[in-house]
Structures are given as structure tokens and as C-alpha cells.
Amino acid sequence: MEPTYLDNNATTRCDPAVVEAMLPFFTEHFGNASSIHAFGSEVGKALKKARAQVQALLGAEHDSEIIFTSCGTESDSTAILSALKAQPERNTVITTNVEHPAILTLCEWLEKEGYIVHKLKVDKKGRLDMDEYKSLLQDNVAIVSVMWANNETGTIFPVEEMAALASAKGIMFHTDAVQAVGKIPIDLKNTKIDMLSLSGHKLHAPKGIGVLYLRRGCRFRPLLRGGHQERGRRAGTENSASIVGLGMACELAMNKMEIENTEVKRLRDKLEQGILSQITHCFPTGDVSNRLPNTSNIAFEYIEGEAILLLLNKMGIAASSGSACTSGSLEPSHVMRAMGIPYTAAHGTIRFSLSVYNTEAEIDRVIEAVPPIVAQLRKLSPYWTDKGPAANPEAAFAPTYA
């Protein structure tokens, strides 16, 4: 049986139309866009088209606001480091404690370098406290960086409102929109967002291509200096094939935005309800009324996520988990911790993330597969008895913790 891929927040398959658009740029259109001859100018035209396709998906006012980079992480680093370099009199970064490591690890390093980082907390549903945010918008803040949508729970942050608040205080605003672009409508020209990161491989373009949107007039310092590519804002010969692929993927995403928010959402809801109605002691995490249409993150209590994934994988079903063991770290997902999910549930969180390629039959199969897997692992769990969870799980099993 064909495997079922429900891990589209990790990465997506390239759309066949994307691959087709890219192929000539490995062979006949191999030129360097900077060259004056015909080999180069063909590529130059293709890059211009791709830039316009990205611009359209983001609703950017000018195509020169699109800077191609190598990935979402590069875009994130470029944005934050640029803001600090361009405004040396400001030494503070505001972000959240549920960001992607591309932001959090950079911020930890910035703290070691002497910068001040404020990480906004979230409540049990993963929502921000806007009063806390407003109180932090002081003159020493160089940049606010808040993700548009959370990669683990799909929870959407009010970045447009937050950008407007920052702008009113003269503070730059960046959003890591890697999970949001292509899944929910974005219209940057009608926002106060100064910078935005996107990553190609999250929307059916290849890996190794990203974009930094940079609002015209926003002060900027490049991360990579060298040639004049991207108007000197990101040196290095353009990854032309991947840029063309990303352009095509953005156009497809525009066309499929409606399906994403109707059909994909319906399948996601069916999957979630199908699992929740069959299994006790499990619950969806995050802000379920305000999240990406493709993401469902379910915590299965008293069992561990990696074990669930291994059994799912055996049945040809791919998902991911916030458990410590899947990352090689000792801690369960920082997002689950930030929301105050207890350890016995945080370790058992499974993220199902769909795409437009998923079918009803696949979802039905997953709904059927999950309950026996959970039952099998609970049978092994010291927190579980044959009648359900131990009467008082914490007391029934209180191991000596290292």
C-alpha cells in the first residue's frame, strides 16, 4: 500500500509541475543571470517571473522587496542580525518562547553576546498576552520577531496587529511565516510587517530555497556580502532552478489556497474528530479555533511519542512528535512546555500535518490505525491499568527520578 504522508509541516513533496519548471534550468538554461549574453538573459527573465510569482502570493507592493535566500533559517538570521546592525543604539529583541529554533537558538546566542531578549509567554492554548507585549515596546527594542503560525500546533499569532503596534512605536517587525505562507492568505502591502521569512520546501518547492521579504524603506544590512545579486542584499550566484521552482510553487499555492482552507481543513477536522471520539485521555493542543487548516496536534496521555511514531511508521503512516526522544534532546517540545502541558502528555504529542495531496481514503486509514496503537502502548505503560489510567496515576507510579 502507498505510504500516507501526514508530516507536511516538516517538509513537502515537490509538486510535479514545480519539478518540470525547474528541469530546463539544469540543462539548456544553465547560464548565470549576471552574464550579458543570451545564456544569462534567459535566466534573468525567469528569475524576474519567479520574483513576481512570490510577490503575488505575499501581496508585496514591489517585486524588489523579495530577496531570495537559501532557506527560512537564513532569512530569519538575516532579518534579526540586520536590525541589530542597522540600529546599533538599540540592543533588545522581542520574540516568543514558542518560536522555531531558527529564531530561539539565534536569540540565545545574541544573549551571550550581550543583547537583551524578551520572550513572550503563551497561555495553555498557546496564545500571547497582548498587554505584556505592549508593555515591552520600548525605545531600546531593535526588532520584534514573532512567528505567523506555530509549526507544532498550527496556532496563528495576530502578527498584523502586533506589527501595527510595533510600527506605531517606530520598531521594526519581522515574522517567521514559514508555516503560514501558502496555507492562509497574506497581503503584506496592507500590513506594517517589515520583514517576513518563507521557506520553499514547506509549500511544495524544493529544499534549499527561501525568501526574505524586506519592505521598501526598511533599513537593512546584508548577512552575506560579495556580488551584486539581489541588489547587493544577498550576495552569491542565484540558485536559479530552485528560484524558478519556488515561483511555480507560489503560483500553485495561490490557486490552491481555497482548497487548503476548505477540503484540507475538512479532512484535518475529520481526522481529529475520528481520533478523539475513539480514544480516551487524549486532547488537541494549541488554539484549535485559530490555527492553520492543515495541522492537528494531539496529546496522547501516558504513552510516549516516539513509540507511537515507530508503530505508525510500521503501518506506512508518517507523522511527527514533540517527544524528547524524537529530537535527541532530553526535553519534550519547548512549545508543549510553554503551554504548560504536563510531561506525561507532552511526551505523547503527535502532529498530523496534511497537504492538498492527502485523500479521504488515507485519512480513513489513519483513523482506523491509531486506536490499536495507542491501546498497545498503554498496555505497556505503568500509568495505565486494564480499566483505564491508574486511579491516581501520579501516586500509582512515582518512580525515583534521576
Binding site: Y302, I303, E304, G305, E306, A307, L309, L310, L311, N313, K314, S323, A324, C325, T326, G328, S329, L330, E331, P332, Y343, T344, A346, H347, K379, L380, S381, P382, Y383, F397, A398, P399, T400, Y401, A402
Partner: protein, 298 residues
Amino acid sequence: MWEYSDKVREHFFNPRNSGPLEEANGIGDVGSIQCGDALRLMLKVEPETEVILDAHFQTFGCGSAIASSSALTEMIKGMTLDDALKVSNQDIADFLDGLPPEKMHCSVMGREALQAAIANYRGEEWSDDHEEGALICKCFAIDAVMIEDVVNANNLNTVEEVTFYTKAGGGCAACHEGIEEILAKVKASRAGPGEVSPPPACPATPEAPKPPSKKLSIVEKIAKIQEVLESVRPMLQRDHGDVELADVQGKKIYVHLKGACSGCMMEAATLGGIQQKMIEALGELVQVLPSSHMPVEA
């Protein structure tokens, strides 16, 4: 996904001896809440012979935690308690044809559950002195707590020293930044508030033996060399290796590396570390070489 051996997969997909054991008379509950692993080991021990008649487990944990638990119960059934106590976490990992470095703690948890269950049977208190930190060196599975303890105990100052003492950083070298951070942290805490920490080149070991000024007799020199070798042996033995003196020829000290040390990819680092200690102890430049480098006698 992890590179699990077939045996780990087999024990995970078909765990042996899982579920409660009604007649258990020794129960050990251990776990690491942060890591998300917890294990209850239940033993049925025959009181006269102290033979383990049956062993069951219940585990909240990942694939390798379940596989380690399953393996452990298979290994200890039929053993006496004293023999079971000799089962090390490495034995559990070996039984499973190895575990990824990030997962070695699963086998440690198995060993701890065994100790706890036997203590419970014997009516003793079992307390765990093992603390686990973030994994720093993935090549040799060394965590931050271990590195910090060794740095503190031995007044280490450089990444090379940490590698010699713990092996951490001796493989791909990607964790050197992490090791440097631990060194800086320990150094800062050593210096105490208000004090200036010494420059990196100056080891913070005031009581370190001064190099002897007078020339050593050959007997004194051999005695010093033996002293240094004795001081490093416990460390090597912990890794199932050993070292002994083969010969001394002028400034060249030849040693036999034995057990796990022989042919180990860390051989050069091990010898380098011993050489450093020899130089400090003897107060002269010497070279430490494997016995295989000894000139063949005519």
C-alpha cells in the same frame, strides 16, 4: 529516525514479559521525567536460592526504552540476584546489538531499575546518584553533567584535557564549542564573584606538583612513570581498557595499550594525554609511544 538495530526493533515490536507480575516480590520504579522515560521492573525471586524465577516490566518511553526493558527481563531470568547485579548497562546495549548514543540512557535506566528492584526485595533503600544532562558529545555519548563533574574534579582547562578524561570531543569535534562553554562556566564559578579568572594558558592548579629541578635517577624516573600510569588506569578500565609500561628508552616511554584501548580510534588522544601527564610529572620532555613502535631487537 533513529538507526535502530534489528534486535532493538524486534524487542520493541514484540516486547517480552510486559505487563504486571502478580506474584512479584521485588519492584523497582525508576525514570527520568525530563527525558520522558520511566520503567517499573517486577521480579519474582525464590527466597531460598535468590534465583529470579520471573521478570516483567511496564515502561513509559520510546522504542529503545521499551526494547531495553524487554531485553533486561530476558537477560536476568534464571540469574541469582548477585549475578543479576553484575549486569551493566553496556551488557543490555550489547544484548540489543547496540543503541544510538542518544539512547544509551535507556540502558542505564534498565540497570537502575534492576538495582532498585533488588534493593526493594532485600528491604534496602535504593537511592539514585546518577544525574543526566544534555548530550554534548554524540560520538561517545557524553553529557554535560559528566563533563562538568570531570572538569571540576580534575581542574581541567582545555578541550584536549576534557577529551582525554572523558573522550568527549574526540570524534567529529562538532561539540568543541559546547565543551568550551562548559569550561568557561566552570572557570567562572571557580574564580568566584569579584575575582578575575586566570588566563586560559595558566592551569588553575596551585597544588600541582612542581617539576623537580634536579635530574631524576633512572629508578626514580621509572617510579614516577609507574605512578602516572597507575593514575590513568582507573579511567581506562572504566572503558574496558588498560595500560602498562613496556619499556623506557631515553626520552621514549613505550606502553602496552590493552583491552578496549588497543586499536581504539582514540588511541592517539589517550597516548597524548598520558604524555602530557608524564611531562608534567617528570619535568622533562618525553614521548609516550605504543609498544608496537618499539625498535625490534637484533
